[in-house]
Homo-oligomer: 108 residues x 2
Amino acid sequence: MAISSDLIRGHTDMIILANLMKEDSYGYRINREIQEKTNNMFELKEATLYSAFRRMEKEGVIRSYWGVEDLGARRRYYTITPEGRAAFAQYCKEWDQVKTTIDQLITL
Amino acid sequence: MAISSDLIRGHTDMIILANLMKEDSYGYRINREIQEKTNNMFELKEATLYSAFRRMEKEGVIRSYWGVEDLGARRRYYTITPEGRAAFAQYCKEWDQVKTTIDQLITL
DNA sequence: CACAATACCTTGACAGGCGAAGTATTGTGA
DNA sequence: TCACAATACTTCGCCTGTCAAGGTATTGTG
Protein backbone atom coordinates (compact mmCIF):
# COMPACT_ATOMS: atom_id res chain seq x y z
CA MET A 1 0.00 0.00 0.00
CA ALA A 2 1.58 3.25 -1.17
CA ILE A 3 1.36 6.40 0.90
CA SER A 4 -0.58 9.31 -0.51
CA SER A 5 1.50 12.44 -0.60
CA ASP A 6 -1.42 14.40 0.79
CA LEU A 7 -0.54 12.77 4.09
CA ILE A 8 3.12 13.72 3.86
CA ARG A 9 2.37 17.22 2.70
CA GLY A 10 4.11 19.78 4.83
CA HIS A 11 6.87 17.35 5.74
CA THR A 12 8.77 17.24 2.46
CA ASP A 13 11.21 19.95 3.49
CA MET A 14 12.06 18.04 6.63
CA ILE A 15 12.57 14.85 4.65
CA ILE A 16 14.85 16.55 2.15
CA LEU A 17 16.86 18.28 4.87
CA ALA A 18 17.30 14.98 6.69
CA ASN A 19 18.85 13.61 3.53
CA LEU A 20 21.35 16.45 3.34
CA MET A 21 22.42 16.28 6.98
CA LYS A 22 25.27 13.85 6.43
CA GLU A 23 26.46 14.94 2.99
CA ASP A 24 25.65 16.99 -0.09
CA SER A 25 23.42 15.28 -2.59
CA TYR A 26 21.39 15.90 -5.73
CA GLY A 27 17.76 15.54 -6.69
CA TYR A 28 17.76 12.25 -8.43
CA ARG A 29 19.74 10.55 -5.71
CA ILE A 30 17.68 12.01 -2.89
CA ASN A 31 14.58 10.68 -4.54
CA ARG A 32 16.05 7.22 -4.99
CA GLU A 33 17.16 7.09 -1.39
CA ILE A 34 13.71 8.02 -0.17
CA GLN A 35 12.23 5.19 -2.18
CA GLU A 36 14.82 2.73 -0.91
CA LYS A 37 14.43 3.75 2.71
CA THR A 38 10.67 3.26 2.51
CA ASN A 39 10.75 0.08 0.43
CA ASN A 40 9.01 1.91 -2.40
CA MET A 41 6.11 2.88 -0.16
CA PHE A 42 6.72 6.51 -0.86
CA GLU A 43 8.39 8.77 -3.39
CA LEU A 44 8.50 12.49 -4.00
CA LYS A 45 7.40 13.31 -7.51
CA GLU A 46 10.03 15.12 -9.52
CA ALA A 47 8.04 18.31 -9.89
CA THR A 48 7.43 18.35 -6.15
CA LEU A 49 11.07 17.76 -5.39
CA TYR A 50 12.41 20.45 -7.66
CA SER A 51 9.86 23.00 -6.58
CA ALA A 52 10.81 22.22 -2.99
CA PHE A 53 14.45 22.88 -3.85
CA ARG A 54 13.57 26.30 -5.28
CA ARG A 55 11.53 27.19 -2.24
CA MET A 56 14.13 26.00 0.21
CA GLU A 57 16.99 27.74 -1.52
CA LYS A 58 15.01 30.97 -1.46
CA GLU A 59 14.43 30.45 2.26
CA GLY A 60 18.14 29.95 2.74
CA VAL A 61 18.00 26.46 4.24
CA ILE A 62 19.94 24.97 1.33
CA ARG A 63 22.44 26.20 -1.26
CA SER A 64 23.22 24.65 -4.64
CA TYR A 65 26.14 24.27 -7.02
CA TRP A 66 26.82 22.39 -10.22
CA GLY A 67 28.87 19.26 -9.77
CA VAL A 68 31.93 18.68 -11.94
CA GLU A 69 31.19 15.36 -13.59
CA ASP A 70 33.39 14.27 -16.44
CA LEU A 71 30.91 11.59 -17.33
CA GLY A 72 27.19 11.14 -16.97
CA ALA A 73 24.59 13.88 -16.90
CA ARG A 74 25.35 17.07 -15.01
CA ARG A 75 24.15 17.20 -11.42
CA ARG A 76 23.08 20.07 -9.26
CA TYR A 77 24.24 19.41 -5.74
CA TYR A 78 22.60 20.81 -2.64
CA THR A 79 24.20 21.70 0.68
CA ILE A 80 22.35 22.24 3.89
CA THR A 81 23.14 25.62 5.48
CA PRO A 82 23.46 26.30 9.21
CA GLU A 83 19.98 27.81 9.04
CA GLY A 84 18.89 24.57 7.41
CA ARG A 85 20.25 22.52 10.30
CA ALA A 86 18.40 24.73 12.73
CA ALA A 87 15.23 24.43 10.64
CA PHE A 88 15.58 20.65 10.57
CA ALA A 89 15.85 20.47 14.36
CA GLN A 90 12.77 22.65 14.62
CA TYR A 91 10.84 20.51 12.10
CA CYS A 92 11.67 17.40 14.11
CA LYS A 93 10.35 18.97 17.28
CA GLU A 94 7.17 19.95 15.49
CA TRP A 95 6.81 16.49 14.03
CA ASP A 96 6.95 14.97 17.51
CA GLN A 97 4.30 17.45 18.54
CA VAL A 98 2.13 16.59 15.56
CA LYS A 99 2.33 12.86 16.25
CA THR A 100 1.25 13.38 19.84
CA THR A 101 -1.50 15.80 18.93
CA ILE A 102 -3.06 13.71 16.20
CA ASP A 103 -2.86 10.56 18.29
CA GLN A 104 -4.62 12.45 21.03
CA LEU A 105 -7.34 13.55 18.64
CA ILE A 106 -8.12 10.14 17.22
CA THR A 107 -8.18 8.27 20.51
CA LEU A 108 -11.72 7.09 21.05
CA MET B 1 3.84 26.47 20.39
CA ALA B 2 0.84 26.17 18.08
CA ILE B 3 0.77 23.59 15.31
CA SER B 4 0.79 24.81 11.74
CA SER B 5 -2.14 23.43 9.83
CA ASP B 6 0.11 22.56 6.90
CA LEU B 7 1.36 19.74 9.07
CA ILE B 8 -2.12 18.46 9.80
CA ARG B 9 -3.29 18.83 6.23
CA GLY B 10 -4.68 15.61 4.93
CA HIS B 11 -5.66 14.46 8.41
CA THR B 12 -8.63 16.73 9.06
CA ASP B 13 -11.16 14.21 7.82
CA MET B 14 -9.77 11.58 10.16
CA ILE B 15 -9.89 13.99 13.08
CA ILE B 16 -13.49 14.96 12.37
CA LEU B 17 -14.57 11.35 11.94
CA ALA B 18 -12.93 10.42 15.23
CA ASN B 19 -15.09 13.04 16.88
CA LEU B 20 -18.25 11.57 15.42
CA MET B 21 -17.47 7.98 16.35
CA LYS B 22 -19.17 8.06 19.74
CA GLU B 23 -22.06 10.42 19.01
CA ASP B 24 -23.49 12.94 16.59
CA SER B 25 -22.14 16.44 16.94
CA TYR B 26 -22.05 19.82 15.22
CA GLY B 27 -19.34 22.09 13.86
CA TYR B 28 -18.91 24.49 16.68
CA ARG B 29 -18.73 21.78 19.30
CA ILE B 30 -16.34 19.60 17.31
CA ASN B 31 -14.01 22.53 16.99
CA ARG B 32 -14.18 23.33 20.69
CA GLU B 33 -13.46 19.72 21.59
CA ILE B 34 -10.44 19.65 19.34
CA GLN B 35 -9.07 22.72 21.05
CA GLU B 36 -9.73 21.29 24.49
CA LYS B 37 -8.20 17.92 23.70
CA THR B 38 -5.02 19.59 22.45
CA ASN B 39 -4.84 22.26 25.14
CA ASN B 40 -5.33 24.93 22.51
CA MET B 41 -2.32 23.75 20.54
CA PHE B 42 -4.48 23.19 17.53
CA GLU B 43 -7.77 24.24 16.05
CA LEU B 44 -9.49 23.76 12.73
CA LYS B 45 -10.37 27.09 11.20
CA GLU B 46 -14.09 27.51 10.60
CA ALA B 47 -13.75 27.73 6.85
CA THR B 48 -11.68 24.57 6.88
CA LEU B 49 -14.13 22.74 9.05
CA TYR B 50 -17.21 23.59 7.08
CA SER B 51 -15.61 22.91 3.74
CA ALA B 52 -14.52 19.55 5.12
CA PHE B 53 -18.13 18.82 6.08
CA ARG B 54 -19.27 19.56 2.52
CA ARG B 55 -16.58 17.35 1.05
CA MET B 56 -17.22 14.51 3.46
CA GLU B 57 -20.96 14.58 3.03
CA LYS B 58 -20.48 14.41 -0.73
CA GLU B 59 -18.19 11.42 -0.22
CA GLY B 60 -20.85 9.78 1.92
CA VAL B 61 -18.81 9.38 5.08
CA ILE B 62 -21.12 11.67 7.05
CA ARG B 63 -24.75 12.79 6.87
CA SER B 64 -26.27 15.95 8.30
CA TYR B 65 -29.60 17.12 9.74
CA TRP B 66 -30.84 20.25 11.45
CA GLY B 67 -31.17 19.92 15.20
CA VAL B 68 -34.39 20.95 16.92
CA GLU B 69 -33.25 23.56 19.42
CA ASP B 70 -35.87 25.61 21.19
CA LEU B 71 -33.21 28.03 22.38
CA GLY B 72 -29.88 29.15 21.07
CA ALA B 73 -28.74 29.24 17.47
CA ARG B 74 -29.75 26.44 15.13
CA ARG B 75 -27.27 23.63 14.80
CA ARG B 76 -26.50 21.33 11.95
CA TYR B 77 -25.68 17.90 13.33
CA TYR B 78 -23.50 15.35 11.63
CA THR B 79 -23.70 11.56 11.80
CA ILE B 80 -20.97 9.21 10.74
CA THR B 81 -22.16 6.63 8.20
CA PRO B 82 -21.04 3.00 8.03
CA GLU B 83 -18.81 4.04 5.13
CA GLY B 84 -17.46 6.73 7.43
CA ARG B 85 -16.55 4.17 10.07
CA ALA B 86 -14.77 2.10 7.49
CA ALA B 87 -12.97 5.18 6.19
CA PHE B 88 -11.90 6.09 9.70
CA ALA B 89 -10.40 2.66 10.28
CA GLN B 90 -8.55 2.98 7.01
CA TYR B 91 -7.29 6.48 7.87
CA CYS B 92 -5.95 5.20 11.17
CA LYS B 93 -4.06 2.42 9.44
CA GLU B 94 -2.58 4.92 7.02
CA TRP B 95 -1.66 7.25 9.83
CA ASP B 96 0.32 4.50 11.53
CA GLN B 97 2.04 3.89 8.23
CA VAL B 98 2.82 7.58 7.80
CA LYS B 99 4.32 7.83 11.27
CA THR B 100 6.60 4.88 10.63
CA THR B 101 7.59 6.08 7.19
CA ILE B 102 8.42 9.65 8.16
CA ASP B 103 10.33 8.52 11.23
CA GLN B 104 12.28 6.22 8.97
CA LEU B 105 13.07 9.06 6.60
CA ILE B 106 14.34 11.50 9.20
CA THR B 107 16.51 9.06 11.11
CA LEU B 108 20.08 10.18 10.64
C1' DC C 1 21.28 2.54 -33.66
C1' DA C 2 17.35 2.52 -30.76
C1' DC C 3 16.22 2.58 -26.12
C1' DA C 4 16.70 2.56 -21.06
C1' DA C 5 18.69 5.00 -17.45
C1' DT C 6 20.46 9.08 -15.48
C1' DA C 7 19.59 13.90 -14.46
C1' DC C 8 17.38 18.19 -14.67
C1' DC C 9 13.59 21.68 -15.70
C1' DT C 10 8.91 24.21 -16.67
C1' DT C 11 4.04 24.93 -17.16
C1' DG C 12 -0.61 24.81 -15.80
C1' DA C 13 -4.12 22.82 -13.15
C1' DC C 14 -6.07 21.22 -8.86
C1' DA C 15 -7.31 20.73 -3.99
C1' DG C 16 -7.20 21.93 0.77
C1' DG C 17 -6.65 25.49 4.19
C1' DC C 18 -7.90 29.97 5.59
C1' DG C 19 -8.64 35.19 6.13
C1' DA C 20 -12.35 38.01 5.90
C1' DA C 21 -16.78 39.07 5.87
C1' DG C 22 -21.57 38.22 6.66
C1' DT C 23 -26.14 36.29 8.97
C1' DA C 24 -28.90 35.18 13.10
C1' DT C 25 -29.81 34.18 17.94
C1' DT C 26 -29.27 34.40 23.02
C1' DG C 27 -27.01 35.75 27.33
C1' DT C 28 -24.78 39.38 30.13
C1' DG C 29 -22.80 43.38 32.26
C1' DA C 30 -22.86 48.42 32.74
C1' DT D 1 -31.91 49.07 27.98
C1' DC D 2 -28.59 48.38 25.00
C1' DA D 3 -24.20 47.29 23.33
C1' DC D 4 -21.33 43.43 23.13
C1' DA D 5 -19.70 38.66 23.71
C1' DA D 6 -20.74 34.07 22.66
C1' DT D 7 -22.90 30.65 19.96
C1' DA D 8 -23.53 28.78 15.31
C1' DC D 9 -23.36 28.57 10.46
C1' DT D 10 -22.06 30.18 5.59
C1' DT D 11 -19.69 31.99 1.35
C1' DC D 12 -15.97 34.06 -1.43
C1' DG D 13 -11.55 34.31 -3.16
C1' DC D 14 -6.66 33.81 -2.38
C1' DC D 15 -2.43 31.11 -1.38
C1' DT D 16 0.48 27.23 -1.41
C1' DG D 17 2.10 22.57 -2.22
C1' DT D 18 1.56 18.69 -5.25
C1' DC D 19 1.66 16.66 -9.65
C1' DA D 20 0.66 15.18 -14.60
C1' DA D 21 2.60 16.08 -18.68
C1' DG D 22 5.82 17.57 -21.38
C1' DG D 23 10.57 18.83 -22.47
C1' DT D 24 16.19 18.78 -22.70
C1' DA D 25 20.73 16.40 -22.59
C1' DT D 26 24.03 12.64 -21.72
C1' DT D 27 25.78 7.87 -21.30
C1' DG D 28 25.49 2.80 -21.32
C1' DT D 29 23.55 -1.45 -23.49
C1' DG D 30 21.39 -4.99 -26.49
